[in-house]
């Protein structure tokens, strides 16, 4: 060890290590008991400090002897106070008391097994016998000194405290060994603990280090922590703060935290706000009118049947469709109304429009917003929970979020539709390459799909959009062109969270959620 290594070691010493080393100032070879005497450390701290210094190569064990120390167990302490069961039974019989084994168990507060083994032993040595009625009877002729001898040892052991087994006379030693507690056995009276008595000496490095500590002299008082008292009294000026081993792992902390998926949705939300979009909200339970009819989806449209949408059981219908939208939408379906369209040319069923369903598309929120007199120019978005009649698996959650919205303005046309989608691709997906593909949605014309090139996954569909058909906007009272757009962001959330199963976005597992990271803005 170089002197600088030795010095570094000293810097990191725990105060116990310092104290222990200093106890070697007078003698190079010390037994554990001598160290305790010289340093004032207790046994457990001594063990810690010797362990550390041995591991650092500063201290070595030069000799080791094992001694057996005798102490009383809980049972032993009880017998010291009340006598052993045998002694108590003999004494009580001597006093002329009459009792059965059952009486002892019931009223002496002794353990049944303890009582039965004591009575058994007394019967075997013929000290007592059982007479009529189960009563115990003492045979005064039999010698009972052996039972008294055990009590003598108990008292002796108690008086010494933790005494070395070799300090007891031979006959007491054998009694102790016959009655000591073994793990897993019944109750013993004595506990024998083995103690290693070690003798230590400093290694050459240890001697160097001790010399260095002695040379440093003055500061021997090391503190592990700064306390309010030290600050108040200025005592911190006279202490040295031990350096920590900072390479250790810290204990695990659980912190209050946003859900990673929600953090993603918040990020999306603020992106839309920063692009000038206002949030809009709508109900989870919709009617077919706002979810589909207002979006010019004919009532016979294939996506409107029982295998695509969840219907509400009770109530099954809303009371009314808000005027004048009900009539205007019905006219658009029937013959176009005042929209310049030929319409779908079928008999519109108002009762069907009232049917309550679980919202199947976020566009329902856009329809309600258009009917509520939106700002022009205006930009709106919503993150809407939607429900589809699908079996639940790794790609289908029972309910899911759709990020949807509208842009209203007199400058809305096909090229600004593409411009808006390009903006979304750049801002939301951080994409540099785009592709616009013709698409079909019942409520937009023209319609377009936005595909973007993801750095890891290649080309993927980010969303769909289009210009609302006049059959959608005019019956809702909007007379400027309106872009309708929707983005599929759950896939992006799953990539950001590094999960493969969409159901994990809604995980119930606290450990999973606590440990899941999300990387935004990548």
């Amino acid at each position: 060890m170089t002197p600088s290594e030795q010095n570094k070691l000293i810097e990191s010493f725990h105060p116990l290590e310092n104290k222990l080393l200093l106890s070697f100032s007078r003698s190079a070879n010390l037994a554990a008991a001598d160290i305790i005497a010289a340093s004032g450390l207790d046994e457990s701290r001594l063990d810690m400090a010797t362990g550390w210094l041995t591991a650092k190569g500063l201290l070595a064990v030069t000799a080791e002897e094992v001694s057996s120390l005798v102490s009383l167990t809980e049972t032993g302490a009880d017998y010291l106070k009340n006598g052993t069961p045998e002694v108590r039974i003999i004494a009580a019989l001597r006093e002329g008391k009459q009792f059965t084994v059952k009486d002892i168990i019931q009223s002496w507060g002794m353990d049944p097994s303890e009582v039965s083994s004591a009575v058994g032993a007394l019967k075997e040595s013929k000290v007592v016998r059982v007479v009529q009625g189960g009563l115990l009877e003492l045979n005064p002729a039999v010698d009972v000194s052996a039972y008294d001898a055990l009590m003598t040892v108990i008292r002796h052991a108690a008086s010494i405290g933790k005494g070395d087994l070799t300090a007891f006379p031979a006959e007491e030693r054998s009694l102790i060994q016959g009655n000591f507690h073994k793990r897993g056995k019944g109750k013993g009276i004595f506990r024998i603990t083995e103690k290693k008595n070690r003798t230590y000496s400093l290694t050459p490095d240890g001697k160097d280090v001790l010399r260095l500590i002695q040379e440093r002299g003055a500061v021997t008082d090391e503190a592990s922590a700064l306390t309010p008292e030290m600050l108040k009294q200025g005592a911190w000026k006279n202490v040295r703060f031990r350096a920590y081993n900072i390479s250790l792992s810290p204990p695990r902390a659980s912190i209050g935290r946003k859900h990673p998926y929600r953090e993603f949705l918040d990020y999306v939300k603020y992106q839309f706000v920063s692009m000038g979009f206002e949030e809009m909200r709508g109900p989870l339970v919709e009617n077919e009118f706002w979810d589909m009819d207002a979006l010019f989806m004919p009532q016979f449209h294939p996506a409107r049947n029982i295998h695509d949408v969840y219907f509400v059981k009770e109530p099954s219908q809303c009371r009314e469709i808000e005027a004048p939208f009900g009539k205007q939408v019905a006219a658009a379906h029937k013959d176009g109304g005042k929209t310049g369209s030929s319409g779908w040319r079928y008999a519109f069923d108002v009762e069907r429009a009232k049917r309550l369903i679980l919202r199947s598309q976020g566009t329902a929120v856009s329809a309600r917003t258009m009917a509520a007199g939106p700002k022009v120019p205006g930009k709106y978005f919503s993150i809407a929970r939607c429900f589809r009649y699908d079996s639940v698996d790794a790609t289908h959650a029972p309910d899911f979020n759709q990020v949807e919205g509208i842009v209203l303005g007199s400058d809305i046309n096909f090229t600004t539709l593409l411009g808006l989608l390009k903006l979304f691709g750049q801002e939301v997906a951080k994409a540099k390459e785009f592709q616009f593909r013709p698409a079909y949605f019942p409520f937009t014309e023209p319609s377009v799909e936005l595909h973007v090139k993801h750095p890891d996954l290649g080309w993927m569909e980010l969303g769909g959009a289009g210009i609302f058909r006049p059959e959608v906007t005019l019956p809702l009272g909007v007379d400027v062109p309106v872009i309708a757009w929707g983005l599929g962001l759950d896939r992006m959330a799953m990539i950001a969270m590094e999960i493969k199963d969409i159901r994990d976005l809604f995980s119930r597992d606290l450990d999973f959620v606590r440990t899941k990271k999300i990387q935004l803005n990548k």
Binding site: S254, G256, S274, G276, E279, C318, R345, G378, V392, P438
Partner: protein, 564 residues
Amino acid sequence: MPTIDIKKKDLDSLIGRKLSVEALEKRLMLAKAELKEYNAATDDLKVELSDSNRPDLWCAEGVARQIRIALTGKPEEYSFFRPGHKATRIIRVAKDMKPVRPYIAACIAFGIRMNDDVLAQMIQSQDKLAEIFGRQRSTVSIGIYEMDKIAFPIDYRLAAPDELSFTPLGMDEKLTLGRILERHPKGVQYGGIVKPFRKYPVLIDSMNRVLSFPPIINSAEIGEVKTNTRNVLVEVTGTDQRMAALTLNILAVNFYDRGAEIDPVQIVYPYATDKGTRVTCPYDAPASIKLSLAKFSQALGEDVSVADLKKRLTAYGHKVKGSATGLSITYPPYRDDIMHPMDMVEDYAISRGYESFEPVMPQESTVGGLSKIELMSDSARGHLVGAGFQEFVSNILCSREELADGLAAGEGLVEVDNVMSLAYSVLRNRVLPSLLNVEAASSKAFYPHRTFEAGEVAVLDRSANMGTRTDLNLAALIAHPTANFSEMHSTLDVLLYYLGVEYKLEPAEDPLFLAGRCGKIVVNGDALGFIGEVRPEVLERRQINMPCAAFEINLNAVLRLTKR
């Protein structure tokens, strides 16, 4: 929407040019189609069509046609559609067809060069048209027969279930109409369409041979087309005359594109129809739509010349007449999806290619912002995160069982009528059960547990037009060996302090909370929610072995109270 199978060599021959797979993928955009798979070894293409209003595209012939006319720039002249063509063959419709299945359209295709690919495409388009466009044959169904075995005129009439019998396709014995509905797989599948009526539709020729039992099954004798068939009768029956006519037109152009001659058939109705009482098919009343060039350019965002518009729309299958002051566009007989001039804007853009347009950023400035309830929710979420709580996001659709022990007597839930799985059959009416689900699933996660969720719930509300209401609720839960009311109350207290609500707790009963350790959170007599220690029986039912305390508040109510 439909996915169809096509052999690539069949498609190439219909297009009239061999395209590379890459070139084909690009050209498929013309048909709003996407190549899903290509197996070079078997030459099989799987193509997905997205436009539910363009049934003409749901077959090899239709996809090829849209690509072919873009390549040549010139649509086919389907001369057999010219008005006034004379039909020598007749189908007579009986009077009592009117309430059952009133419309029929038919034509004859002579000289088909049939092979396995052609037959496969014919069966596939018949199937897609009747299933998807015809809504499982209810509005439209199709029959194709060996022309050479039929003696005209044909009668389209009703017959009693036991009046006549014939051998249906796929069987080798004669069955009555009634027995077909019981025993033939197609009878079982589609019988519901005719069962409400006392008598069923049949097509019978002048030799009294049954052609078919529409919309159920053809006769095995006359109605089976094989690879050696050259001449066929095609008929479409249905409840919607326009849809039946369109379906026949699509089938007719498909046969024509494969080199067949199309011969018309006249339908004679004893009742009035939108197209008259004598209708010659394939029927085409040339349909057109008027455009204003200025509006067209405005919708596109680019100035378009008449010449360019003519060129692009012609290459998409339309006929364009007129000048800048008034344009008239006649669309092809196999399409009936054009309702508004905006439809032409899309056709133009697709024909020209979306990539040829320069994206322009919308210039009008708007101010963004969040709704008041979202801001309130974000604020509450921030306080709970600061208080050491982990946020959760749960599904709203769940099982009745998850909510049942939290319901007050007589309290209902928003329930799904057409349940697919009991696990997802009701909407949650409060958020706390979702947090209890988390506890039930998280006994291995180290304690203490502090969780919360701000999320939507649906509650029945008789006073609302919709009969229901969506609320935004906030619930928080703690679980650890000494979790109790007082600790939860501290969190609630500091949260409501920051939200600006002065509240009182009143002793209350709640099925989820221990009696005597539950409080109603009250502001000026209005209830905001509940707080309490969770009942041990509620925990036991979910096998949660840790004491829990929780609260739930309605953020809409908080918003109403703090808005002055």
